[in-house]
Symmetry: D2
Subunit: 274 residues, 4 copies
């Protein structure tokens, strides 16, 4: 079980949203309240956009809460759009290349969830990655395979459509391996301008996903921040601390697209790639 | 808050006692039940005696539960006397040299507890370490300073007496810094033959410490082990899983000495070094 | 460029052969003399057989020369058959799962060399790994893929024949990708009883490989060791220090099989799997 | 033996000066040409000033050349004043807290060199650190002790005078331990505005230190950079690649002060603190 957040808005120092709040992301990594796995101590990562088109990523296999470099970077780096992720490994190795976010060109990708039966399906899934993209796979997680499948199926042109095709493909390969409902996920995807948040599960019961309704929601991330810009938005895989009405649950089988001040919700259903 | 175990008896593979039981030490490191700090993910160490007089130690700053080398070593290494420790850092850096056990010659040392006000007292305490021993200090924890103070005060000749002197010294320096009850600890010390378990706190309320009453207690460590030798003994800082009558609580201000099949309990009180 | 050694004979503490000699393996990792890459600081591993059929492995992504746990383990662990390997990464990530030796059941596998054009060929090569074995691949190196191809092609029944088939397959896939001479390697393989050392390159000019002629060769590994057993043998990918006549160069396109005191040399040529 | 660089001038991305040049700092870390220790693979650090008064530091115990986070950070971070350092450990543990730069408030400190006999002198030296500063010592190196001694002796008011007092003190304690010529060093110190480069050895033969004469020197750091600002300056502990006349050797027993476009050279001699 993982934990992630995406922020888009006026540039903020990362530590203002990741470390300072009482029930911060990093805090959560020590003892996630609503998670199945008790502790998210198997690595973390942050990806953020600043001056260059390619986002920067910092990933480490150690617990987020005891990484001094992370704390220091979060104090120094200001970004208008960033994603952060903490990991609780569920079988694959605890190493940097297995930490989220994954990056390809200007794209970032984080995920919470599992592919049921991935160990058995992996070989078939990986064969669907295009030969051009295949060499860029660096780790061994199901998340990274999903990212490269979505890239193969057109993520750079239409992230939601490509992800829907990827979901279809994974479920199809799952059934071929006798797994009826292979997929459960919440996804965060960005190109540096937009944030896509997707919530879906084959069995209709995905993990949680929320977006901020207004500035009050953001102030719950860190009450000490005086103001957020009008276009500031956040997506979180689990609410920080107590859930208030300022956070809107993204319904199962749906997605949000955040593009500056605009927030749009759409249905999300797997669709055949062909 | 830390967690430790000492085992003495017929040689066992380390994984039989550290990984296999349902509520194993490694398990506990993920979510210690009665600890103040929720997770012990800031490093661990094992020290064990085998063919050579000097014990071997393996320490790492990452969580015990995701270290594959640890798992592998525990499967391969058999020892008649070993100590294991998991760490939840409380201020000092998460690095190998701050992990327990600490070693000097044939001696191993693990600790659970704190010195209240250590940050302010450290300079004065360290000055009490003998010039010959001083250069061997490698880390920055209060535990290691306590070990080197005890070594300075005669640990190699009489571990309990030297530890009592060390406790006196720490309380004395504490009072000089306005800390009335500086010390709370459980200690595990060994020379490869004997195991010393000490439980003490300046305010009379130290953390827990238990020793096994009989083979039934040891079988609770791992029910799948058919038999333990008659002289097998264990000391644990917290009971594994539910506490049964097979585990004997070591009273506050007391110590146990395990020497083969013999187990002796003594009072433990700080005593002036002079 | 990597560096490896295999030892078979009377049990020795690992540090006697890895750390103590003046131009030791670990020493070599700091400044390999005849290597293309100047320093082998991108991880290392040791695999050794002792009481259990499954060998133990200890691998780390940091430089061998500054890993205290390695030094400590080498002092404590005694083995009658072990392999050690130091790594200089040539593109794939520096992480534990990419360190040699690779292990499957009772088998260990180390390699020096490269597959030219591996990045482009990888997808096709990996598809040849059997579906049963595929999920056990943990890292991202060409070496591990070669190991799993050889396992797919019968390594557990006949290591040399399976490796010859694997070599054929790699060269075939290479040619399909426009790489005429894809392979250059020295391989060390063991099942805990026998050591297989293979030297081969598609272009006829593989990297070096040597075996000990007699006890004098072994004493060059560590002059302070008084005696080696009559059946003691070593294979090294590069000679320690100055090369003496006590070390026999294994010719290109050939292999040695060490089985206790017996040492046999055979020709080695790629052969079609079909 | 270590290696360091300081840059002051128009903001540059760190990778432009650390990774891009053919004989870059990171390159040097793999095989330093004029160093005593062949490889600087025992950690590294970068410290840089940007929006906040407190500089950011990123330090790691692994080799600089294989740290992907470092490469990524260097691509994203732009700074008008930064220091970078690579380490070859000479006895003390390879861990983050022993990596340079050391930081206190707005001050950064890097060093190349040794204190001869430090192991024996350490206890006496550390006692000279003021009780207020003592708790901030995090590692175990002689470099950090020197930094805290200089802080104790007034570094924040007058860096050169405080360093001269520190040098005097170290030589004095050295002589008390029978070490006639204890010190050899090159130091880089900064407060975010000025860079201080100091070259000194008790025996008159310190390690090398250079500063850039003009923009041509800087362009040798990376020929692909079109232009440097007029006030751009660099100090390097060893020349990159071949030494040209664009680099000026800082004489033994002297220091440079860079303050924007101004560069001043002064004599540097140990002076009694009293």
């Amino acid at each position: 079980m993982f934990w992630w957040i995406a922020y888009s808005g006026e540039p903020k120092f990362l530590d203002e949203l990741l470390f300072k709040p009482e029930h911060s992301l990093i805090d959560q990594s020590l003892s996630a309240r609503s998670s199945v796995t008790p502790t998210n101590g198997d690595g973390f990562g942050i990806g953020r956009y600043s001056e260059r088109e390619t986002p920067g990523i910092y990933r480490n296999f150690r617990p987020a809460w005891n990484d001094r470099n992370l704390r220091d970077l979060a104090e120094q780096i200001r970004s208008h759009l960033f994603l952060a992720h903490v990991r609780a490994a569920t079988g694959t190795a605890v190493q940097q290349t297995n930490c989220h976010p994954f990056r390809f060109g200007k794209w970032l990708f984080v995920r919470n969830g599992v592919i049921h039966g991935f160990r058995e399906m992996k070989r078939d899934l990986v064969q669907e990655v295009s030969p051009e993209l295949y060499p860029s796979i660096e780790g061994t997680t199901d998340s990274e395979v999903m990212f490269f499948l979505a890239l193969t199926l057109g993520l750079e042109d239409d992230p939601l459509a490509a992800t829907a095709r990827m979901a279809h493909l994974v479920e199809q390969v799952g059934r071929a391996h006798g797994v009826e409902e292979a997929l459960t996920l919440t996804l965060g995807i960005s190109d540096g301008k937009r944030v896509f948040g997707i919530r879906y599960a084959s069995d209709g019961s995905p993990r949680t996903l929320f977006h901020s309704r207004d500035m009050c929601a953001l102030k719950e991330l860190n009450p000490k921040i005086d103001r957020f810009s009008d276009d500031a938005r956040a997506v979180v895989s689990e609410p920080f601390g107590t859930l208030s009405e300022s956070w809107v649950e993204i319904p199962p089988s749906s997605a949000v697209i955040i593009d500056g001040a605009k927030l749009e919700t759409r249905e999300f259903h797997p669709s055949s790639p062909h």
